[in-house]
Amino acid sequence: MATMQDYSNKVTPTWCPGCGHFSILRAIQVAASKLEIPIDKFASITGIGCSGRLSGYLNGYSFHGIHGRSLPIAQGIKMANKELVVIAAGGDGDGFAIGTSHTLHAIRRNLNMTYIVLNNQIYGLTKGHTSPLSDTGLETKSTPFGSMDNPLKPGITALAAGATYLAQGFSGLQDQLIDIIVKGIEHDGFSIINVFSPCVTFNKVNTYQWYRENIKNIDEDSTYDSSNYQAAMNKLIETDGLCSGIIYQKNEPSFLDRLQGKDAKPLTDLNLKISKDEFENLLNKFK
């Protein structure tokens, strides 16, 4: 039996006490232990930000890359060895400012991996600058007169890009968070999980209290059908994105499935030697 401790490397996080990111780290560790993911096959990849430090606290193979690029690195690792369980994670700036394009294209490629957005609607690591997910009017160091841009809607954006698994969670709602991470990892395709994760130091508006009052829990609505695309869109519009649970899920093949079929060997297992005859054939194509 695996325990959540098996997935911790015992390094003490440098996060501020009370930071929402702690619960996400814990939820990932619990989800991994519930699924008994072999530690040597567990790969976590993060971007840069307070959120980016997360991979540095996980056991297994962990890769802390560059700002906004956790997804291409993670997809590369998954493409190399599709038998790994790959989890990418990063902040809202990482995934929806500098890395937006990778987020959309990773969704389209639909590799079987999980992407967790640690969404505090602000830039924590740079000490309080606005994020594309900050609400209009939010006063930050870079928006002294309040944020003037309209926020991006991560849920609708993900659905529009063709997400095959979209869930949202909240650091203050552990059980559900664990559940949507477990199901996201189990989902055969790209799962994107947007987690509201309060930054207690720099975001004085979107606090635990604020999220508790504003987030609608989808699990409380027994009639909700997460396979209904229209319903998912409606839910996001109705709640202005402030809902938690599995919002949408469907099955579709990944880039690799389409290119090589489901049963293909992982790239790491390929025999690299090309015979002399094969070599001659390849050369003859140029004749």
């Binding site: 540095g56 590369g76 190399a80 790239l267 140029f286």
Partner: protein, 574 residues
């Protein structure tokens, strides 16, 4: 009878000029001739004049020749633009739908041929090319069945009907009755039948080399003049279990390649200047995380979009010094298509051996000029993965103790790939300790910097400069890189001066030992390069001094050196 012949085919872009040229080159190469095709095109896809100059000979052809023996014009612009390059006894064959009255050139060299006319009867655009091939083949004294054979090979996948139509068109044009075809003036002579050879571009050779080297994944973003690398690999990789993926941008391309390589699979990407600029941060990530990755840079004119379809060698500073911070990288600079193949294999082996980014620095002329190559040697395909942990090697160590960045004597530490039991570790672009965990302490920083920056030093002793000596007593060495090598070789031969020249095949780390020897033993080294700031010469001066001995010849107008230019320039020094 001719031993060498230079032919220019010109027409409207998008109408198959390149395909006709390549087909002719393949036919000739099958017969044992050497050919070199120089494409000249603009950024437009359709419309606009495009040409392909083909140099043909019984000896290796490494560049385009200056004077033209034959022009085959499928549009009027070709004649207007290129008749000035025609040699005194040259011929202009032109499509007879162009009225000869409009063509202001001396009558007796103008030969109208019914290229489109009969092509129309047979109603397929490729027929026009076949017609032209028939005329050219006949003019050069090739056998009809040799031409038919090449058409069969080219079209056999398209069905019998297409093959038949083409053979019919070929027959008609080959047997066309014109005075010009009865002279033997333009017949090619080949003394003995040589073995059939391949026609390849530098970009294809890089792709082929990568495949042979065991690269099984290439994420890439299309860009002229590098796209052929990903296109070739996209075609062949799935057969060997691998994949090419066209990603969203070059940042994704390099970081995904880093991910794949970290995952345990050889990976590369290919791009040109603008892509290199975007990749810099990702390349630095490979540098500090000591992840092997291969990047082919097929240079074009910069900065910004610059001259997207023209030749230049101005990315050297960017990749030599590029990216913020300091880390080791290796720059290989192939100078022929064969080099592109072997150097790509070497690039993968060096990347694994030294665990750092390796560039293959090519250029537009080398990347995109199809040419007849000598047989590639299978025995030189060697795959060496460097220091890696194999499957059960770590089963006895305690989890979490694997030192991915162990401080070793040679600065290189064993890698373990995800999936390997007890090999788990952290990797970060932040300065880290031997375990890979963040650590900012000055002592650790110093150790890690020295580890990463010194590890490629052994390569400084490499003999990476190919030198061609003529021992004529003149004490000047002409040194170049990339496609200029071919032009220098030809110019050296033509100038009659018997000069010494060389191509540098690895620019970083600079082969200091060999260069120092050369600088000690020559009075002058003249560095020939296609950029304004004398980039290679500056790097050599910066690293080794010898300022008064190092001189430069540069050209930065978007075109490669012509042989005549080089003959003249060489004359000024030698």
């Amino acid at each position: 009878m001719k031993k060498n012949l230079t032919l220019l085919i010109g027409g409207i872009q998008g109408e198959g000029v390149v395909s006709l040229g390549t087909n002719l080159m393949k036919t000739l190469s099958n017969l044992g001739y050497y050919t070199y095709g120089n494409r000249n095109f603009s950024s437009r896809i359709k419309g606009g004049n495009t040409t392909m100059t083909i140099s043909i000979g019984v000896e290796k052809q490494l560049c385009s020749k200056d004077g033209l023996d034959i022009i085959l014009a499928l549009d009027k612009e070709t004649i207007d633009l290129f008749n000035c390059k025609l040699k005194p006894n040259g011929l202009i064959l032109f499509d007879s739908i162009l009225s000869s009255k409009d063509l202001n050139y001396k009558e007796d060299s103008l030969i109208p041929l019914p290229i489109t006319e009969i092509a129309k009867d047979l109603s397929a655009p490729i027929i026009k090319n076949t017609r032209a091939l028939g005329f050219l083949g006949r003019l050069m004294g090739l056998e009809q069945n040799e031409l038919s054979q090449s058409l069969k090979e080219k079209y056999h996948t398209k069905g019998d009907e297409i093959v038949e139509k083409n053979l019919k068109a070929l027959k008609e044009s080959y047997n066309y009755d014109g005075d010009i075809f009865n002279k033997e003036e333009y017949f090619l002579s080949i003394s003995e039948k040589k073995s059939s050879k391949a026609v390849m571009m530098g970009n294809e050779a890089i792709g082929f080399g990568a495949l042979m080297a065991g690269c099984r994944f290439i994420p890439s973003y299309p860009i002229t003049p590098a796209s052929e690398v990903m296109e070739y690999m996209g075609k062949v990789l799935p057969r060997y279990g691998g994949a090419m993926v066209q990603v969203e941008d070059e940042i994704a391309a390099i970081t995904m390649a880093v991910g794949v390589s970290y995952g345990g699979v050889r990976s590369m990407t290919a791009t040109s200047g603008p892509g290199i600029s975007l990749m810099m941060e990702g390349i630095g990530l490979a540098g500090i995380t000591e992840t092997p990755v291969v990047i082919a840079d097929i240079q074009r004119g910069g900065p910004s979009t610059g001259l997207p379809t023209k030749h230049e060698q101005s990315d050297l500073f960017a990749i030599y010094y590029g990216g913020h911070g300091e880390y080791s990288n290796i720059i290989l600079s192939p100078s022929t298509v064969e080099d592109c193949f072997y150097d790509t294999i070497r690039a993968f082996n060096l990347a694994d051996k030294y665990q750092c980014p390796v560039f293959i620095l090519s250029d537009l002329s080398l990347g995109l000029s199809p040419q007849t190559i000598d047989d590639l040697d299978y025995n030189q395909v060697v795959i060496d993965r460097g220091k890696i942990v194999i499957k059960d090697e770590l089963s006895n160590i305690e989890r979490g103790t694997f030192k991915r960045y162990e401080l070793t004597k040679d600065g290189v530490s064993p890698r373990s790939f995800p999936g390997i039991i007890n090999g788990g570790h952290h990797v970060t672009g932040i300065e880290h300790n031997e375990l890979g965990l963040p650590l900012e302490k000055p002592e650790n920083r110093k150790n890690m910097m020295e580890k990463r920056l010194n590890k490629t030093a052994p390569l400084e002793n490499d003999e990476s400069i190919d030198i061609y000596r003529t021992n004529n007593g003149n004490n000047t060495l002409f040194l170049t890189f990339g496609s200029i090598f071919g032009a220098i070789k030809e110019a050296a031969y033509l100038s009659g001066k018997k000069i010494d020249f060389g191509a540098i095949r690895m620019i970083r780390p600079l082969p200091k030992k060999q260069l120092t020897f050369l600088l000690e033993n020559y009075d002058k080294i003249v560095v020939v390069e296609n950029n304004y700031r004398k980039q290679l010469a500056s790097i050599i001066k910066e690293e080794l001094g010898y300022h008064s001995k190092i001189h430069s010849i540069t050209k930065y107008d978007g075109t490669n050196f012509t042989i005549n230019e080089l003959v003249e320039k060489i004359g000024e020094w030698a």
